[in-house]
């Protein structure tokens, strides 16, 4: 019966076989070596290597598992033949060890273009210097690592995508690293501690930052298209904020004319509000279509101003999502409400704004005025959804009453008040 059927699989071109093998867990890919004589070494020329905990058989003893994984990868690399374009290692069983250094040395000689390293939670892995000699690196992802670029490191000249999470790197070096990668298009930095960061990346398009940043400055990022920032606060940083004299809004958003999407979490708006003079920023964000801001404190007039400034300078804004985090008790102090009626220029029209989503609304005066402002200035609005904050129980009726009374510029606008009975 075997003679009758023809072997269709082995006749496929090598590129397809490689694709198929890459889509298998790496253990299964290696197992194809005993299928037939033609398949004996097909696995050995795979260029995309992904080692993860799927390769680890389940044993109770961590040491045994670690041993087996190390053995498997060492043997695999030894038997491998040809270039390696992608090397991805993410295993919670592996810790820093000389074996990993050796693998990286081996890989660095193989024209690697994509490198992903994520090791276990123990002692952080210290990247050997051979990582910095991967000249063709286009994508680098490191988790729980110590990076120490050698003094003669000139940068990754081909690097387009950089993702560092929980990486220990001297603060000067991180800025150097970023600016020495001229082609960098996407930068993600997570869980850095107390970092003062100035980003100089002329080709940067996507920026994701998360952590405790003392200072953030986008000095040369004209092509930036999407920004997502989550700023955590410590006492240190709060102090630093108070002493800061520069205008953060300009520092951060002053040089991004092509921005299309802006997402800010936690203390982002607070950060932007520091040093912000009450004038309209000279820059207009013609391409900004989506704004998402979380934990906006409507008690603080400065933060409200930041939000307004952003919105009013984005004529093509399509969707807005704001999540509040206001303290209702604090807001009973008479806020500066005249500003809404007097100082706010009314020549602003949000002609493209179609959807607005407001969550965690506490109903503080500024917030209600803000909603009123939005409704009055968005002639194309289709839907506004308002979800009151969980902590507001009695004020909901007042909120609703106010909402209903607001004038709407758009005849098609529908206001959805999302009320989940407690």
């Amino acid at each position: 019966m075997e003679e009758l059927g023809r072997d269709f699989l082995s006749d496929l071109p090598q590129s397809i076989i490689e694709t198929i093998l890459t889509k298998l867990p790496i253990r299964d890919a290696v197992r194809t070596s005993i299928l037939s004589s033609r398949w004996r070494y097909k696995w050995a020329s795979m260029t995309h290597l992904v080692f993860d905990d799927r390769s680890a058989t389940q044993f109770n003893d961590r040491m045994v598992v670690e041993d087996r994984i190390v053995n498997f990868i060492t043997r695999f690399l030894f038997l491998h033949d040809g270039p390696i374009h992608k090397f991805s290692l993410s295993s919670s069983y592996l810790q820093s060890s000389p074996d990993i250094d050796q693998w990286l040395l081996f890989i660095s000689r193989k024209d690697v273009k994509e490198l992903v390293l994520e090791l276990g939670e123990g002692e952080w892995f210290r990247a050997p210097s051979c990582v910095f000699s991967c000249k063709n690196l286009m994508r680098l992802e490191l988790v729980r690592c110590e990076l120490d670029p050698p003094p003669n490191f000139k940068g990754f000249l081909c690097l387009k995508y950089l993702n560092l999470q929980q990486v220990l790197i001297p603060p000067d070096d991180i800025e150097c690293l970023i600016s020495s990668c001229p082609l960098l298009e996407s930068l993600t930095l997570s869980y850095f501690d107390s970092l003062e960061l100035t980003v100089r990346a002329p080709n940067l398009k996507y920026l994701i930052l998360e952590g405790e940043f003392k200072d953030l400055c986008l000095a040369n990022t004209p092509l930036l298209v999407a920004i997502s920032v989550a700023m955590y606060m410590t006492d240190d940083i709060a102090e630093h904020f108070e002493q800061s004299s520069s205008c953060n809004f300009d520092k951060f958003l002053g040089g991004v004319p092509k921005l299309e999407r802006l997402i800010g979490h936690i203390y982002f708006t607070k950060y932007l509000s520091i040093g912000n003079g009450q004038r309209r920023s000279p820059i207009t964000y013609h391409h900004l279509k989506f704004i998402e801001l979380y934990q906006v404190s409507f008690d603080d007039i400065k933060e409200v101003l930041v939000v307004l400034q952003l919105i009013m300078n984005s004529p093509n804004l399509k969707a807005l999502q704001i999540s509040g985090s206001s303290n209702t008790t604090a807001a009973t102090r008479a806020p500066d409400l005249q500003f809404w009626d007097e100082k706010l220029s009314t020549d602003c029209t949000l002609g493209q704004l179609k959807t607005v989503k407001l969550t965690d609304v506490s109903g503080v005066p500024h917030e209600m005025k803000f909603i009123k402002f939005l409704l009055e200035h968005s002639p194309s609005l289709e839907e506004m959804s308002v979800t009151p904050s969980l902590y507001v129980t009695e004020g909901r009726l007042n909120m609703l009453i106010d909402l209903v009374s607001f004038k709407r510029a758009s005849s098609q606008a529908s206001i959805v008040f999302i009320h989940e009975p407690a």
Partner: protein, 373 residues
């Protein structure tokens, strides 16, 4: 048909068509927007081909009419921009439900037309077919010839052909496979089966039989020793090795293909490794076992009667062979009445998981004992 409809509804909009010629020479007419989904066809159209029946676009040879129609179905669905991701995904899932032969052909055809999304989809489907299956299953599905020697299967690196132990191993496997085929062919004939049982009787009786205790314990202890001590003296080693292989081969005749453990393999391997650095993991037999685990799911590991005729220690081999024959004769003559009993038990024993180290054989001993009582 569609064209006629659209003509009725909107006569001013004419759908453009292109002509495609497949490997068998037949020419098909296809809506241009559908065909343009394939980069290959797109380029051909841009260079002026395919606009009329006389100048059809010649498709690559790997694209035959049934494959072309499948590909066009795919294109027709996906080139419509308004579809949601969910719709596309569910279409894709249904689309790749076909037998693997067609999947391979489709992958090849899509690749020649440079239709990368379809190549990705079919490759993923083929990977799913391969994933998690044993080599035998994969070979059966894709009609791959099983043309690797055992040594090649066990050792993915180039091995030295001169290594006598590798040759021995290879020969054992080859012989075993031959014997399996023999058994398969003659399955219906009772005599053959009896003979098969006899061998197992021999083996088991050799453990049961008290009069042969010396040699039995020697053997058992030898194999025990084998597994405990990884390194042995070279002098004593050969005899140990072959005798162990003998005993293991003899004993494991009782084990049929149901046994998926590689423990026997392990013990032979460890006996071989005791000779030093001839195999990749000299000191730790389990490591080789591991790489085997890593690269190969449990291989067949039955052994044959050692009727070795290569040039390794011929005198010693003869001695061992004679030993085996002696035992067999003696046991057969001493226990004729037991043969009936054990023949009937032979059926059940087949499914027992047996290991060939000392413990395993003792296990057989106790179970048989219990049955006797």
């Amino acid at each position: 048909m569609i064209e006629a409809d659209s003509e009725i509804i909107k006569p001013e909009i004419l759908k453009a068509y292109v002509w495609l010629q497949t490997s068998d020479g037949s020419i098909q007419q296809v809506e241009q927007e559908v065909a343009m989904f394939c980069p290959f066809i797109c380029r051909e159209i841009q260079s002026g081909m395919g606009s009329s029946k006389n100048y059809p676009i010649s498709l690559p040879s790997r694209v035959n009419p049934p494959m072309l129609s499948l590909i066009l179905d795919y294109c027709r669905f996906h080139q419509v921009p308004g579809r949601s991701n969910k719709e596309r995904k569910s279409f894709d899932e249904k689309f790749v439900r076909m037998d693997t032969k067609r999947l391979c052909e489709l992958t090849s055809a899509a690749d020649s037309l440079q239709l990368k999304p379809l190549v990705d989809l079919t490759s993923r489907a083929l990977a799913r077919v391969i994933e998690g299956k044993s080599p035998e299953e994969i070979r059966e599905i894709f009609h791959l010839p099983d043309d690797l020697t055992e040594e090649e299967k066990l050792e993915p690196i180039k091995n030295t052909m001169d290594d006598p132990r590798i040759r021995l191993l290879n020969r054992l496997y080859a012989r075993k496979r031959k014997e399996l085929k023999e058994r398969e062919r003659l399955k219906n004939i009772e005599v053959e089966e009896d003979r098969g049982d006899e061998r197992s009787v021999d083996d088991l009786l050799s453990f049961i039989n008290g009069s042969n205790e010396d040699s039995k314990t020697n053997r058992v202890s030898k194999s025990k020793k084998k597994n405990r001590k990884r390194k042995d003296h070279h002098k004593a080693a050969p005899s140990n090795c072959t005798s162990t292989s003998n005993s293991t081969t003899a004993s494991s005749d009782a084990v049929y293909t149901n046994n998926k453990e590689s423990n026997e393999l392990d013990s032979v391997r460890s006996s071989l490794t005791c000779h030093g650095n001839l195999l990749p993991n000299p000191c730790n037999g389990t490591k080789l076992h591991d790489i085997e685990d890593n690269t190969i799911p449990p291989a067949e590991d039955e052994f044959d009667d050692c009727d070795l005729d290569d040039d390794i220690d011929p005198a010693l081999k003869e001695k061992i062979d004679r030993e085996v024959e002696d035992f067999a004769r003696r046991l057969n003559s001493d226990w004729p009445e037991r043969m009936q009993q054990i023949l009937s038990l032979g059926q059940e024993r087949r499914t027992l998981q047996l290991t060939t180290n000392g413990n395993g054989s003792l296990r057989i001993f106790t179970s048989l004992d219990q049955r006797r009582k």
